[in-house]
């Protein structure tokens, strides 16, 4: 039950883009085409889950025992940057086809605030998934990160689909490009507000 709650809450109720405003830059940047949006979502999904796993362990076994919480931001961003580089190198060697598909998105992910945001959220925020507030266990943390990134993918793919249609419409000049995109996201966010209160 709790697992289901984590998933529903992370994907729909507290959708990372539409309710928490994380990762907006790539959200607006690469959602022009459905295919690139799917590629970006997959890359983000992979990196968020991996980064959360590593930063969670780093925080629990290195920063907290030594009273170094104030180095959290700096340590996390370094881990994420290193991780992204590593994923890029490994992917290039092991699976060139996957690298071809995700490669161009990977460097962008370091500065995607969704990754750092989720990593910080997991270790600092008190969670209450219908239960007393407590720090998440490793399994829940990774699950939460994975579900959140699925929410990112969902919002991204939905929006890319809308934008492909928008590109064919006759939009007034001042609205063209980002303004109309933002207004579309606003309406999408309104739809997602309907989920609040479920969990």
């Amino acid at each position: 039950m709790e697992i289901l709650l984590i998933i529903v809450s992370a994907i729909f109720v507290n959708n990372i883009v539409l309710a928490q405003f994380l990762g907006i830059c790539p959200y607006l940047g690469v959602s022009n085409k459905l295919s690139t949006a799917t590629g970006m979502s997959a890359a983000v999904c992979f990196v968020i889950t991996l980064a959360t796993l590593v930063t969670y362990l780093l925080n629990k076994y290195l920063l907290l025992p030594f009273g170094l919480e104030f180095l959290q931001t700096i340590a996390f961003i370094l881990v994420i940057a290193a991780l992204v580089q590593m994923v890029e190198i490994v992917l290039k060697k092991v699976s060139p086809s996957l690298y071809q598909a995700l490669g161009i998105f990977l460097p962008l992910i370091t500065t995607n605030c969704a990754v750092l945001g989720v990593a910080i959220n997991v270790v600092t925020k008190e969670f209450t998934f219908g239960l007393p507030s407590h720090m998440l266990g490793l399994g829940e943390a990774v699950l939460y990160a994975f579900a959140t990134s699925l929410g990112y993918g969902l919002a991204m793919v939905l929006f890319a689909g809308l934008r492909e249609h928008l590109a064919l419409s006759d939009v007034p000049k001042a609205f063209r490009g980002v303004p109309i995109a933002l207004i579309t996201v606003g309406i999408l966010a309104m739809a997602f507000m309907g989920f609040s209160g479920i969990a």
């Binding site: 907006i24 750092l116 207004i183 606003g186 966010a189």
Partner: protein, 194 residues
């Protein structure tokens, strides 16, 4: 470019929010009221000026291949300093802005200015550039916050002029996107040079 232009270009010509479309996350998330927008803008301004100065000072001795990690570490340091100072002296604002203080690290404005300006210019010019872009960002955030506050809660800078509630949707998530979208339209139509 004169020193004066360095400071004023962030307002209209290179406005980080409306023209360059950078730093969208804090722009949308923290502008629930004019005061919140202003605080976020000033926090970013603080990091921008200091990191720009530090980076322009160390840039000549940083090997090219590692310049991004080095810049990120420098920026993260200033962000953490800001975080600690805010926790100590402005706890209310720190709680309101929450997660978005540490996230200044990945605000593309800060890294963007380091890459595009600070690493090639003098310390003084870099400080002015940071100041200019920071002021532009602060003004944009305050305006967005003000519009959302007026429409959403019927008040301006905390001063209430409507007895009831405003249109609540504007303080919530959808309102952020809608207000920014429409303000951008107005900006394109009336202020930006064609």
């Amino acid at each position: 470019m004169s020193k004066f232009q360095l400071i004023t270009k962030g307002l209209v010509k290179d406005n980080p929010t409306f023209v360059l479309l950078l730093g969208m996350c804090p722009t949308l998330a923290t502008t629930t009221s004019a005061v919140n927008g202003l605080s976020m803008g000033l926090a970013t301004l603080f990091v921008l000026v200091l990191s720009n100065m530090a980076i322009s000072a160390i840039a000549p001795v940083v090997p090219d291949k590692v310049h991004i990690p080095v810049y990120i570490v420098v920026i993260a340091t200033f962000v953490t300093i800001l975080q600690l100072l805010m926790q100590a002296y402005t706890p209310d604002i720190y709680v309101t802005l929450g997660l978005f203080i540490p996230l200044i690290v990945v605000n593309c404005i800060v890294l963007g200015r380091a890459e595009a300006f600070a690493c090639k210019n003098s310390v003084v010019d870099s400080a002015l550039d940071g100041l200019g872009v920071g002021i532009g960002f602060t003004v944009s955030l305050t305006v967005i916050g003000l519009v959302r506050e007026i429409l959403g809660s019927g008040s301006a800078f905390g001063w209430k002029f409507l007895s009831g509630d405003g249109m609540l949707a504007f303080v919530m998530a959808p309102g952020a996107f809608l207000v920014l979208g429409y303000l951008m339209v107005l900006f394109n139509k009336f202020i930006a040079k064609k």
